[in-house]
């Protein structure tokens, strides 16, 4: 039985790559990039999940209540990685948007198939 979290993550990756193959609008492709990133982030986050004897884990934050120390905590590394990775995704998004604006000024179109003067 494959966990549905993983399946969702892979479906997101699949959707993004599908859009890259079959969509032509630049804005949609930017969204596709973000969707792929989200899929990988979901995969990473769900890797840190933890279930001990059916008890639900808490976030890895010590609030000072010693009673809470007994409950399991989810893994903190994936969350840190995803924090970094989200920022990188945003940066890519910003740069892609800047490029798209420029492309629209040059070509007057957002159709990726029109951007094919470099060939051969």
């Amino acid at each position: 039985m494959i966990p549905f979290q993983f399946i969702t993550a892979f479906l997101l990756i699949f959707m993004g790559l599908y859009a890259f193959l079959y969509k032509r609008n630049l804005i949609k492709l930017i969204l596709a990039l973000d969707i792929i990133d989200s899929g990988i982030h979901l995969l990473l986050i769900s890797l840190g999940y933890r279930l001990e004897d059916g008890t639900l884990p808490t976030a890895p934050i010590y609030t000072g209540y010693e009673t809470l120390k007994g409950t399991p905590m989810v893994g903190p590394i994936p969350q840190a990685l995803v924090l970094t990775s989200i920022v990188i995704g945003v940066c890519i998004l910003a740069l892609a948007m800047a490029l798209t604006v420029n492309a629209y000024r040059h070509y007057g179109s957002l159709d990726i198939n029109k951007l094919r003067r470099l060939r051969g």
Partner: protein, 98 residues
């Protein structure tokens, strides 16, 4: 043609990923007990020692700003680079100034 091949490859990649996600062959979800100790020893170390070694009660903060602080510098640099790049790309064209 190429697009079809690409789609087929995509399906193949998805298939490999599904095998990877199958708990019998690859990644396990919601580890507990022994599995947790075997696969997530680093996380466990952070949870146990993070507060005394770094001092923050939020372990994620401890990791982001101490254990993996260098990544955070990198992250800031990425942000800086992207801003510099976007500003450079959106500057007025050379032609228009002349």
């Amino acid at each position: 043609m190429k697009r079809t091949l690409g789609a087929l490859s995509l399906l193949f990649i998805l298939g490999v990923l599904l095998i990877v996600a199958h708990p019998n062959y690859g990644l396990k979800f919601g580890l507990g007990g022994k599995d947790w100790q075997a696969y997530r020893y680093t996380d466990q170390y952070y949870i146990e020692h993070g507060v005394e070694e770094v001092g923050g009660t939020n372990i994620v903060t401890d990791i982001v700003f101490d254990y993996r602080g260098y990544d955070t510098i990198g992250e800031a640099t990425v942000l800086f680079t992207a801003i510099a790049g976007a500003v450079a790309l959106l500057r007025p064209w050379r032609r228009e100034e002349e």
